[in-house]
């Protein structure tokens, strides 16, 4: 009972802090924390697939790109309401995720990692080829731009809704099936889990989450969807976020998202290392250090501190 109380209190504290921050921080910093919210959604999406269903993916930046371009194109051509385009990004990425999940059924471990990596580097090439519709190297611009506070509110509201959605999915039958697949595919099949259904479903759900993150990501870059924004580095950042969070725990994700969302920006404001590439050095070194010190990520740390399994 005390554990449940502690959980409720920590949720209340996080929500209260997030509600208060926009009134304290400067406009620029509100934008930064909104960025954390966007990464939160993406890392949450990847964690469903990798942490719960045990399928690694290095290609989730590509889903973000598909979501981002959905928003940009719909806004450019039809002036669709931005919130509506996020729902469309969710739906489209779900379908694409399921489609990618189908070939992924045959792959496992490092081969799945390589195939999704190839997916991540392939998708940003498509706008260059279909430049009439997708704007080529210059990208697509949304018909309207949003303020930092709008972005903050929507990003964190979406994070909250998707977190609840993820929690509902993961606590029930589907979540149990995911974990069974992760722990032992053979045992899962023997207990009546339809492997193809749940693996593709995990891909679809996780891609859909990243699609929403991608929509917001485009809005955060002044409504520009450009191929170069969605390079392999973005996919790697999502993966780093999930690893720093600690796989298979909804709690650590906040730490993982803050790590990838804030660290590059914070270190760039420090004088000596503030040069553009100094921040890469700091970020890379920090990633290595965190993994050396905390192989289980933030979730592992929380588990150690509370003395229970995450």
């Amino acid at each position: 009972m005390t554990r449940r109380l502690a959980t409720l209190v920590s949720i209340a504290v996080v929500v209260a802090v997030l509600c208060l921050l926009p009134f304290i921080l400067s406009d620029y910093n509100v934008g930064l924390v909104a960025q954390v919210g966007i990464f939160y959604i993406a890392v949450l999406g990847l964690d469903i697939l990798t942490g719960y269903a045990g399928q690694i993916s290095i290609g989730h930046g590509a889903f973000m790109m598909i979501g981002g371009y959905t928003t940009a194109v719909m806004s450019r051509d039809h002036h669709t309401n931005l919130i509506v385009t996020m729902l469309m990004a969710f739906a489209i990425c779900f379908v694409v995720g399921v489609l990618l999940g189908l070939p992924a059924l045959r792959l496992s471990g490092p081969y799945l990692a390589l195939a999704t990596f190839a997916f991540a580097v392939s998708v940003p090439q498509l706008p260059l080829e279909w430049s009439k519709f997708l704007g080529g190297r210059d990208g697509v611009e949304t018909s309207q731009t949003v303020s930092n506070s709008w972005l903050y509110g929507v990003a964190w509201a979406a994070s909250a809704i998707l977190l609840v959605l993820a929690w509902l999915i993961l606590r029930g039958r589907i979540g149990r099936a995911f974990r069974a697949v992760r722990d032992s595919e053979i045992a899962a099949v023997a207990s009546g889990v339809e492997l193809p259904v749940y693996k593709t479903l995990a891909f679809g759900i996780s891609a859909a989450f990243c699609g929403v993150a991608g929509s917001l990501f485009v809005l955060a870059t002044n409504g520009f969807a450009e191929p170069s924004e969605f390079g392999i580095l973005l996919s790697l950042e999502i993966l780093i976020g999930a690893a720093v969070a600690g796989l298979g725990s909804l709690w650590g994700i906040l730490a993982g998202a803050a790590f990838v969302g804030l660290l590059p920006n914070v270190s760039s404001s420090v004088p000596v290392i503030g040069s553009t590439h100094g921040q890469d050095v700091v970020f890379g070194a920090a990633v290595i250090l965190v993994m050396l010190l905390l192989p289980g990520g933030a979730a592992g740390l929380i588990a150690r501190l509370t003395g229970a399994r995450a």
Partner: protein, 337 residues
């Protein structure tokens, strides 16, 4: 070196089945492709030029893919930093040349530095996490990717750097085909290094120990193999092969920049997946296939432009993996339940 030791559980029976039932169709298809290429080369000089160029580029992909395979066999992780490590060592070679060494002096000095670098990285960064979590070790290599990129940009900046050409600018003419000496040179250098690594694994006691440590760490430790040392040497050799790939990639691009190896890493991944992550020979063959195929397809298939090169490579990997989920030369992992 690809055949006997990759089988994790299967005995002779398993190997026989693989040779009889699986490998030969692949070999037949490859021989057919080679014959097709030869006929094409004899009929068209453009085709011949593209093929030679493709083989040279493919040998670079294959060499980096082989580095990935060595690391994978030694430590069971895919090293995302392999390409950036190769890029870093190429910059070191550039710096040595700036300091007055000749190209080939710098070349061999760089290989030695690369070996030390690879070994040190394994001991200091990979080994501590490897026992606890594979995914954490993979993330360390991702961090290394970003770190090396930042360090190189910091020290040398993003501007193009130029190195002297290792093979001069001579152009060979065979009939109507004119081929820059660069391409055969690249191919031969990579081939020599691959053969040397193969010989090391096949004929020396050290190589035997490394193969044993990769396949059955516990059992080989029991018979006196220093497993940890073997794995570190495996990483060192991988870094050397990567350095060869980087040094040979530089003249093919005509300049050195920090993103030199990023597309090549993608093709090396494709090559390793194509050949099978367990199979060193497969990685090299996979690299050659990718190199030649990309060069020819972009020229002769109008629908596939340079922009679609990467998606095409992706489609090929996916298609091959769907038919053979552990690569052309890989062995299906058999697990005891």
């Amino acid at each position: 070196m690809a055949t006997a030791e990759t089988s994790r559980l299967g005995g002779p029976r398993n190997r026989g089945a693989a040779l009889g039932g699986v490998v030969s169709p692949v070999a037949l298809v490859l021989v057919a492709c080679a014959v097709g290429l030869l006929v094409g080369c004899l009929r068209s000089s453009l085709f011949a030029q593209l093929t030679v160029q493709g083989l040279a580029l493919g040998s670079v992909y294959g060499s980096l893919a082989l580095a990935l395979v060595l690391v994978y066999r030694a430590t069971r992780i895919v090293n995302f930093a392999q390409g950036e490590l190769a890029m870093l060592t190429t910059y070191i070679a550039y710096q040595l040349i700036q300091w007055g060494l000749s190209y080939w002096e710098a070349f061999f000095a760089t290989l030695a530095i690369a070996f030390v670098l690879g070994t040190v990285l394994e001991v200091t960064l990979i080994r501590p996490v490897l026992h606890r979590s594979t995914i954490a070790a993979v993330i360390v290599t991702v961090g290394l990717f970003i770190l090396i990129d930042g360090v190189v940009n910091w020290i040398w900046g993003g501007a193009f750097r130029y190195m002297p050409s290792p093979f001069g600018t001579k152009v060979y003419r065979v009939g109507e085909v004119s081929i820059s000496r660069l391409y055969p040179g690249m191919f031969v250098v990579v081939l020599i290094s691959v053969v040397l690594v193969w010989a090391l694994f096949r004929f020396t006691k050290l190589g035997l120990g490394m193969r044993a440590a990769a396949v059955r760490p516990a059992a080989s430790a029991l018979v006196g193999v220093r497993v940890d040392r073997m794995l570190a040497i495996g990483w060192g050799l991988a870094a050397v092969l990567g350095a060869v790939a980087g040094l040979m990639a530089e003249p093919s691009q005509f300049f050195l920049e920090p993103t030199l190896m990023q597309p090549i890493l993608v093709y090396a991944f494709a090559a390793a997946a194509l050949g099978g992550l367990e199979s060193p020979g497969g990685a090299v063959v996979g690299g050659l296939i990718i190199g030649v195929a990309l060069n020819l397809v972009v020229e002769y298939v109008p629908a596939i432009s340079t922009e679609l090169q990467l998606p095409f490579a992706f489609a090929v990997i996916l298609a091959v993996l769907l038919v053979k989920p552990s690569g052309l030369f890989g062995r299906r992992e058999v697990r005891r339940v």
